[in-house]
Amino acid sequence: MPLAHQLYDTALVLAPTGRLDHDNCEAFREELAPHLERSAKDGTSIVLDLSGLEYVSSAGLRCFMLAAKQAKAQHSRIVIASMQPVVAEIFQIARFNLVFEAYPKVRDALAAMSPAAAAAFDRG
């Protein structure tokens, strides 16, 4: 799964796309791993921009759970933003809305990270 990334001040936006399920969840974890490690080292916050994610299965949700656990253990922060309605419903049914802070838009998430991150986003 391609994982586009963009740094805004000290917040890193990662954007998984397509479907996240049994077939590609391990590849997604491998893509995510270096960003989580960096987050532990330099305190970068992570925003998962899910606007391009069309579907997530239980296996995909497990990847999100592992990322949330790792972030918590290393005292870093990972949040989600811009979920498509279907993915938002699946998160709610699986009670992942209780695991992640979720924001309507990426900018909202960045603003919650820091004013500098939101300002960097506004500058484009």
Binding site: H22, S57, S58, L61, E89, I90, A94, R95, F96
Partner: protein, 318 residues
């Protein structure tokens, strides 16, 4: 085949409180809005058609006990949780004094799955045959132990029925009184076992107290084969997925999400959510059912999966 649920609650029996009943009655009266009913039948019809199930009924509180009516004289039942007490009363009433033969299939011997046996009426009737099937080597020990002093006043040896323990092997099918029964090993503390029951053209899977590790594809594929094209799967959906894979990981239970996904992969016809969390009230279980049906819609392939939530008293024709 007909499946009849005598106990559907997980871990420990629960009961509605007087406040729960008061609240249900009060809300029902409010919803009726001054309507009057000419007969009790009209009132029943109103309750059935216009009130939420969680308001007009209850999912119930007995721990696991599920009967499989096979059309044969002998009884088949999965687990002997507290639901075994009303199941026993049903057997005695139906037998009208004739001794019964009861085939029991034990998922495991944790207390909530055996606690009904000391109150299982047919165990006290001479001539009754009770065959307790299972895959655990501690099966007989567990049943004897819970009736030994100081836990219970009637020791196992004092039971009048002819009680036999039958050891089954996971993965090995056995023909039992016209039904093909195949046990499958499951992940649970101390191990548990699911059962697939097959009669010509019909299949029913009972799988409770079973955790599914999402990262274990071999296990997933094994369960898809076990469930393959079953008419009915009774599935441990005790926790939300988030809880099942985080704070309650390794507690030995599963979730509604995993139940739907496994049943979709196996092209099952009907999934029944079972082993309800004891902390959930009726409205919460009804909410979980509603959400599970929605999840099934969102993820449906070419075949729809019917989804129900088990309740004490539910009967499903397979």
């Amino acid at each position: 085949m007909r499946v009849r649920f005598w106990g559907t609650r997980g871990s420990i029996p629960v009961a509605l409180t007087s406040a729960d009943i008061r609240d249900k009655v009060a809300v029902a009266l409010m919803r009726a809005g001054g309507r009057s009913f000419e007969s009790i039948g009209e009132a029943y019809a109103y309750a059935e058609q216009h009130l939420d199930f969680s308001l007009s009924h209850t999912f119930g509180g007995h721990s696991a006990c599920v009967e499989l009516e096979t059309g044969h004289d002998e009884y088949f039942v999965c687990d002997l949780g507290s639901g075994a007490r009303p199941f026993g009363a049903h057997v005695l009433a139906r037998q009208s004094g004739r001794p019964a033969t009861v085939n029991v299939f034990m998922s495991h011997v944790h207390w909530d799955h055996i606690m009904g046996f000391p109150f299982f009426g047919p165990a006290y009737v001479p001539g009754t045959r009770i065959r307790i099937h299972g895959c655990h080597d501690v099966l007989e020990h567990a049943f004897r132990l819970q009736q030994a002093p100081p836990c219970f006043p009637v020791e196992f040896a004092q039971l009048s029925a002819d009680i036999e323990f039958v050891r089954l092997t996971p993965g090995e099918a056995r023909e039992i009184s016209g039904i093909r029964v195949t046990p499958a090993a499951q992940m649970h503390s101390g191990d548990s076992f699911g059962y697939r029951f097959e009669a010509p053209g019909k299949s029913f899977v009972y799988t409770t107290d079973s955790e599914h590790k999402l990262e274990n594809r071999a296990q997933t594929e094994r369960f898809v084969r076990f469930f393959q094209e079953a008419d009915l799967v009774v599935f441990d959906a005790m926790y939300s997925l988030a809880d099942a894979i985080s704070v309650k990981a390794d507690w030995g239970h599963s979730s509604n999400i995993i139940g739907v996904e496994l049943c979709q992969m196996a092209r099952v016809k009907h999934l029944v959510l079972f082993h309800h969390e004891p902390a959930y009230d009726d409205a919460t279980i009804e909410g979980v059912l509603r959400e599970t049906r929605r999840f099934e819609e969102l993820t449906r392939g070419t075949q729809a999966l019917q989804v129900s939530a088990a309740y004490d008293g539910l009967e499903i024709e397979v």
